[in-house]
């Protein structure tokens, strides 16, 4: 049952990701991106990684894309801008994109896809935390240093003259 739900959510994620990059209106594209992220969260839940699923909803769908929307909202969606976007989307990119999709298709249908068959092994959160602050501590620290650098950069750009 959870395997079926995972596949269902994965298909929804794929479809909404496709729509996210092909919609001319940028806010509509972002909404499909949210749909893709939420479907991905559904996948995580169904496969037993409920913490990853919850964090996906909280951080990606709830915060990061919300910042995108915040910025994009102020861009005026004039008919001219929409027409320009449509013209860009109808270019010659379809052929290479189709070829890439054909190449990637065996990855979806190949024998590895049986890896989705779930042992309903839920990931215990304490084990995850111990991993993040044990063997992966340096990775976590590097990521936090990067965020700190971004924070200082934003502070510098936003300072009052």
């Amino acid at each position: 049952m959870s395997g079926f739900i995972a596949l269902w959510c994965a298909s929804a994620a794929l479809a909404s990701a496709l729509l996210a990059v092909t919609r001319p209106g940028i806010v509509h594209g972002l909404m499909w991106l949210v749909a893709a992220l939420l479907s991905l969260a559904g996948c995580f839940y169904a496969l037993g990684a409920s913490f990853a699923g919850a964090v996906q909803v909280l951080v990606y769908a709830g915060a990061i894309v919300a910042v995108f929307v915040f910025v994009v909202m102020t861009v005026d969606a004039t008919p001219e801008a929409l027409a320009e976007e449509r013209a860009r989307l109808s270019g010659a990119w379809r052929l290479p994109a189709g070829v890439v999709a054909l190449v990637a298709l065996p990855l979806l249908l190949g024998p590895n896809s049986t890896g989705l068959e779930p042992g309903p092994a839920t990931v215990p959160l304490k084990a995850l935390g111990a991993l993040l602050f044990g063997p992966w501590a340096i990775g976590v620290e590097i990521a936090s240093a990067l965020l700190l650098a971004a924070l200082m950069g934003a502070r510098h750009l936003g300072r009052r003259r």
Binding site: M31, G53, L58, G62, A66, M73, K126
Partner: protein
């Protein structure tokens, strides 16, 4: 899972949804009466005994009103936005443990799940604002986006102290860890920060600058009418109840209490917090917007981090 278990779960979910919507309706009446009392006027007192049936009359009125989108509105987003206000809040109640074993889905990530659902409401405000093609709505939407980001960041941190002490994100585990001593006594700073952020997350006065009617009409929902307007309000009232339920679980010992059965204690505590929300609404004026955002980032967030740090020291010190 057997078919019977699925059926039971489906029935429990439907009953919970129906109860929540009725509770939201009754809440509107209680709020108007209590506000009336606090402001020395009567409030709605004509429909039914003490005006109790006012919310039924309002619902009928809202259902039958025309729901007209403004010309030039983005139809899809305009229709989707109110759904984003109500559905995540209703979903969030799925993991709330109302009593021992009284939860639709007692997820091991319960608290994080509710936080995620609270975070999703930002789309209701922002999408509704953007889709309306209205300057006032846009101002409200921009305020909403910045405010939600500021307040959700320390909402999460303020309740981490409790999670550390209980050692679990599961609602029922957190309640079980408070047998005898409620976390509000051990985490007073966390509780104060949580309820401050909770008011902002449910966008209630005094943190409702995104719809503050004395400067931007009704903010993000200026253009909404009829049932989609009602969905925004449903979302807001259920958000208040969700924050109250989360606060009860985290800080007020959940379903624990003498004599009465657990779910009744839970309901009483949630009702008390909701009344406090109404009281705060009547008592406090709105801050200026820069004060609001400055308080979140410069005061509340460092305090929440400090609270987490000290709690961490104590928990580790007692364990080791």
């Amino acid at each position: 899972m057997t078919l019977l278990a699925w059926l039971l779960l489906a029935t429990a979910s439907i009953v919970l949804l129906a109860l929540l919507m009725v509770a939201a309706g009754v809440f509107t009446w209680v709020e108007r009466r209590v506000l009336g009392f606090l402001q020395e006027r009567l409030g709605p007192n004509r429909v039914g005994p003490f005006g109790f049936l006012q919310w039924v009359a309002d619902t009928v009125k809202l259902i039958t009103k025309e729901d007209a989108a403004p010309a030039g509105a983005d139809r899809a987003a305009y229709i989707l936005a109110p759904a984003f206000a109500a559905i995540p809040m209703l979903t969030g109640f799925g993991v709330v443990a109302f009593g021992e074993g009284w939860a639709v889905a007692d997820l091991d990530m319960g608290v994080v799940f509710v936080m995620g659902m609270l975070a999703l409401t930002v789309y209701a405000l922002v999408l509704g604002a953007w889709a309306s093609r209205n300057r006032y709505a846009m101002l409200g939407g921009l305020r909403a986006a910045a405010q939600m980001l500021a307040y959700e960041s320390f909402l999460g941190l303020s309740l981490m102290g409790v999670v550390l002490m209980a050692g679990s994100f599961r609602m029922s585990d957190i309640v079980a860890a408070q047998d005898g001593l409620w976390f509000i006594l051990l985490q007073p700073l966390g509780a104060a920060l949580f309820f401050t952020a909770g008011i902002a997350a449910a966008h209630r006065l005094p943190f409702d600058l995104q719809e503050s009617e004395n400067d931007i009409v009704a903010g993000f929902m200026t253009e909404y009418s009829g049932m989609s307007f009602a969905l925004f309000f449903l979302g807001e009232y259920i958000a208040v109840m969700l924050v109250a339920a989360l606060g009860t679980t985290l800080f007020l010992g959940g379903w624990y209490g003498p004599l009465l059965p657990g779910p009744i204690w839970f309901g009483l505590k949630v009702g008390l917090i909701c009344l406090a929300f109404i009281w705060i609404r009547a008592a406090l004026p709105r801050p200026r917007y820069d004060q609001l955002i400055g308080f979140a980032w410069k005061v509340a967030l460092p305090l929440a981090l400090l609270n987490l740090l000290v709690t961490g020291w104590i928990v580790v010190g007692r364990a080791g």
